[in-house]
Symmetry: C2
Subunit: 152 residues, 2 copies
Amino acid sequence: MSENNILGTNVIAQIGILVHDIEKTSQAYADFFGVENPGWSLTDTVDKAETEYKGEPTEARAKLAFFDMGSLQLELIEPDEHPSTWREYLDEHGEGPHHIAFHIKGMKEKITIMEQNQMPLMQKGEYTGGRYAYMDTFKDLKIILELLENDN
Amino acid sequence: MSENNILGTNVIAQIGILVHDIEKTSQAYADFFGVENPGWSLTDTVDKAETEYKGEPTEARAKLAFFDMGSLQLELIEPDEHPSTWREYLDEHGEGPHHIAFHIKGMKEKITIMEQNQMPLMQKGEYTGGRYAYMDTFKDLKIILELLENDN
């Protein structure tokens, strides 16, 4: 890995796809790939997730469903109506792919370096065992990057 | 692998991203991930590629650039102005992710089975050592699937 790699990795861990109806689309994936429907889980409430969108706390939550697709996960995301990158992108672009995600170490430092490179933080939050950040890399990379930091 | 898996695989081999300026976006990826700019190659002319879009031959070509991102490739695609799924999707959705690709065996059979499942063939063509097909899976899976069949 080059020391010039800002993230310290180039391994894509997830592809995130925005949907209107996670139960319907999950079942379509399960049927097509011959796997069990994994069901969905709801992201934590703002008091626990500390969700921030554009620098402000937001009550936004989303239903998530994960499918193992080789070495990476395909993540389906059905956001609620509160402000989030998920809701904004879904309203602007319609259903479809939203981001690719990478596992990183040192979230604060990575966010600082990316912001110095004109890639602003869009949204961040906590989940059990870790935290995430969506970075606005669209102008340069033509896709949003999500950083994932797990404690273990 | 379940025998109910239509493709015979669930391993994502590529993510394809549509761009307006492949040289600019390739350089942005090279800079961000600390790798060499791989340059781009042009798809073959219609006489060699036998490119068909919506059942008709098309002169459409695209510039392609590939980055190795863990176990899969990230493919940048800059299409020309002739009719193709690339051009149509770029005009409708703007720059951004277009498809995920899977390596399969038995292209004709896979296309037939998918069409029987209301997932029509959108575009196909040949490349040196293999062939590809874009299938319209958007209605069910919220992303286009590409099938890749290499001879070796």
